[in-house]
């Protein structure tokens, strides 16, 4: 074989052809040649792997246990009765959070009242335990409603663009100019105090951030080929938006919403502190329950 002088030939493609690398042998080859990975590292499903990773994240674990503890204490603080039927009979709270003990007003912490009592002699520990219910429900309800407003509007704005986008985004811009508390304070001043009024006020200020975030995501997702493909196949806009676009754009919104529960609870507490929270008398221990945002 002589190919010393053939330096030039190699630079031209198409001169050399290799045959005999017969890949058809794989089809009926003995399986001892197949190399199998150790089961333990590969064949776990996505959820298991996610859980494995989660377990290794100490911050997340601590967060989860705090939330679990809070849920536990708030659920079992007082019995839950729905339409006369006791759903949850346990009562962990040492006192009725609404009961005033006028013999012990403004007490410092003691063995009977580990957190002391408030100005009307109510046990603060019980109020904190029970008040968590309000905090958590306010957080969850507000964020859910805000999502159901913000997600469709953000999706519409991002998907259609044009004047729909302009109108929705200008509305968002306008609301954006009012700081959370300022707007909520003004709204509560108009609507009056109360559980649902508070939620309404909070929803009105929370939805805008979800709409904004989702719109941005939708703008980039709608450029994807599967969206073009769905359009080419004649899918209706509604099904494109809700089957193809929104699910792929939701991830950051979901993260934001999870963190948002904490923010909402904090703001509800701040409203409570300013005297604009729930009606006087309801355990506004809600105001003091720690809000834990899980990273």
């Amino acid at each position: 074989m002589s190919h010393e002088s053939q330096r030039t030939t190699t630079t031209e493609r198409g001169r050399i052809r290799v045959t005999g690398f017969d890949t058809s042998v794989f089809e009926d080859r003995d399986e001892r040649f197949d190399w199998q990975q150790d089961e333990s590292t590969v064949s776990r499903d996505r959820l298991t792997r996610a859980w494995e990773r989660f377990k290794r994240n100490r911050t997340a674990l601590v967060g989860l246990s705090i939330i679990a503890l809070m849920l536990f204490t708030t659920i079992f603080a007082r019995p839950i009765v729905i339409e006369g039927i006791t759903v949850q009979p346990f009562s962990l709270a040492p006192f009725d959070p609404t009961n005033s003990n006028f013999a012990a007003l403004n007490e410092a912490p003691t063995a009977t009242h580990p957190f002391g009592t408030d100005w009307s002699g109510k046990d603060i520990l019980s109020r904190v335990m029970y008040g968590g219910r309000y905090s958590l429900t306010i957080g969850v309800i507000t964020v859910s409603i805000a999502l159901s407003v913000g997600v469709p509007l953000g999706a519409l704005a991002g998907y259609y663009g044009g004047w729909i986008d302009e109108v929705i985004m200008r509305l968002v811009d306008i609301l954006y100019a009012f700081p959370f508390l300022v707007l909520a304070i003004a709204l509560i001043a108009v609507l009056g105090q109360g559980f649902w009024n508070m939620i309404t006020a909070l929803v009105l200020v929370v939805w805008i951030s979800y709409a904004r975030l989702l719109r941005g995501e939708v703008l980039s997702v709608k450029e994807n080929e599967y969206v073009t493909a769905a359009k080419a196949l004649g899918a209706r806009d509604r099904s494109i938006i809700f089957r193809h676009v929104v699910p792929n754009a939701m991830a950051p919104v979901i993260v934001q919403a999870t963190l948002g529960i904490g923010t909402v609870v904090l703001n509800a507490a701040a409203l409570g502190f300013l005297g604009l929270g729930l009606e006087p008398g309801s355990p506004s221990g809600a105001a003091c329950s720690p809000a834990v945002a899980v990273a």
Binding site: T10, G14, G20, R32
Partner: protein, 425 residues
């Protein structure tokens, strides 16, 4: 022995691993090769073969959780040795002290080193440094142990002596600085130039790599350049401080075909004219043919074949190489379908037993499952002591005589339209 006979770069038994949750990923597993001055050397393999990690290891740019576990990287550049000896006299190896800068031969202008005419230079690194500085001594030969150098010394090597070109020029440039500034920055750092001089040099470099109106384009931002121009700018950065080795990591993969040809031409021209060696990393044997002199094929972190480019093309030895070659699409191909290498690169945490390639090798036999083939001279079947570009080596049991049926394939060289010539191994 003159220093110039020795290779510019020797990589010996390099091992780099990544420590992940799944275990130790042996990305580079005992790799040795060498590159001569001005040589164009290719490292070929599919993604995951350890090509990029090899290059990043020699630049010492391996980040957590990766770690270079062992091996030697010897860089024989007189300018690098002189520069480092001047700046880090404490790193110069002497008879009674180990170090990473080895000064083998010095030429003294005045005939003596320091104040003591009888002293050998190796005893007096500090005085050597001073004498290097005032110009009375010149380094004639020496080398740097790259893996032992401290970070500060590495910073002096990177960019100035060993430069790098990356795969995706679009992301390789910092979006918030002008292209010119990104070149000038390296020049200021390594060539001791002021702002104005560095700017001049950067414009010169832009012009050198074929960017029209270099003066105006100096203050353009990367996004104002096309992909091909961005890669030219990246090459300009690499070239700006006169390196003796450029590591090009898939420099044309992100570019389209016409641009690819231009960039390859440019690299070839530059390496000829500036006498700079190139280590080209690619998965494309076609690119290798156009640019390189010798080649190393890697599979699963190990070299499986090493030879000159001609040898590899006309007489491939390792089944993996053969598989890669039969998957190159050709003009006028009359085969029904392309034979690609079926299957995928194995998980580097758990390599298949014996020959790592056996699950994908059509010639695999029982011996392949049991014995790991060493890298041997394909003529003699003897293991090789040192990497030598002139010896064609491959890691397949065929060449140690352990296979019963042997490896069979044909290489046809077509002189005209008709295929003739062929050989069986």
């Amino acid at each position: 022995m003159s220093a110039n006979d020795e290779p510019l770069l020797s990589v010996d038994n390099l091992q780099t691993s990544f420590y992940t949750e799944e275990g130790e990923v042996k990305a580079v597993n005992d790799v040795s090769y060498q590159i001569d001055r001005g040589e164009r050397f290719a490292v070929v393999g599919e993604s995951g073969a350890g090509k990029s990690v090899t290059s990043l290891s020699l630049m010492r740019l391996i980040d957590d959780p990766g770690r270079i576990k062992g091996g030697d990287v010897t860089f024989r550049s007189t300018s690098a040795v002189a520069k480092l000896a001047r700046q880090f006299p404490e790193g110069v190896a002497t008879e009674n002290r180990s170090g990473y800068i080895h000064v083998d031969e010095l030429r003294a202008e005045s005939g003596s080193v320091g104040s003591d005419p009888g002293a050998t230079v190796r005893d007096r690194p500090t005085e050597v440094a001073t004498s290097l500085h005032d110009g009375s001594l010149h380094v004639e030969a020496g080398h740097v142990d790259v893996l032992d150098a401290p970070d500060e010394a590495m910073q002096e090597l990177r960019g100035a002596e060993i430069a790098m070109i990356f795969q995706d020029p679009h992301t390789a440039l910092n979006p918030v600085y002008t292209v010119g500034e990104q070149i000038a920055e390296a020049v200021r750092k390594h060539l001791d130039m002021g702002d104005a001089a560095a700017r001049e040099r950067a414009i010169e470099m832009l012009d050198r790599v074929g960017i029209p109106d270099a003066e105006e384009r100096y203050s353009d931002y990367p996004h104002e350049f096309s992909g091909g121009m961005q890669q030219r700018a990246v090459i300009a950065i690499a070239l700006s401080c006169d390196p003796s080795l450029i590591v090009a990591d898939e420099p044309t993969t992100a570019l389209d075909v016409t641009i690819e040809a231009q960039i390859l031409d440019l690299l070839k021209e530059l390496s000829d004219e500036e006498d700079v060696a190139i280590q080209l990393i690619t998965h494309d044997l076609g690119v290798v043919a156009e640019l390189c002199d010798s080649v190393m094929v890697m599979y699963a972190g190990k070299p499986v074949e090493r030879s000159s480019v001609e040898e590899l093309y006309y007489d491939p030895k390792h089944p993996y190489t053969v598989g890669l070659m039969s998957s190159i699409p050709r003009i006028g191909d009359d085969r029904d379908r392309l034979d690609t290498v079926p299957g995928t690169m194995p998980d580097l945490v758990q390599l298949p037993s014996g020959c790592s390639f056996h699950p994908r090798c059509p010639y695999a036999e029982d011996a392949c499952i049991q014995h790991e083939p060493p890298l041997v001279d394909t003529e003699t079947g003897e293991p090789i002591e040192e990497p030598d570009a002139d010896i064609h080596t491959a890691a397949c049991l065929e060449y140690t005589g352990d296979l019963q049926d042997g490896v069979e394939f044909d290489v046809q060289i077509r002189e005209d339209a008709a295929a003739d010539g062929g050989e069986s191994v």
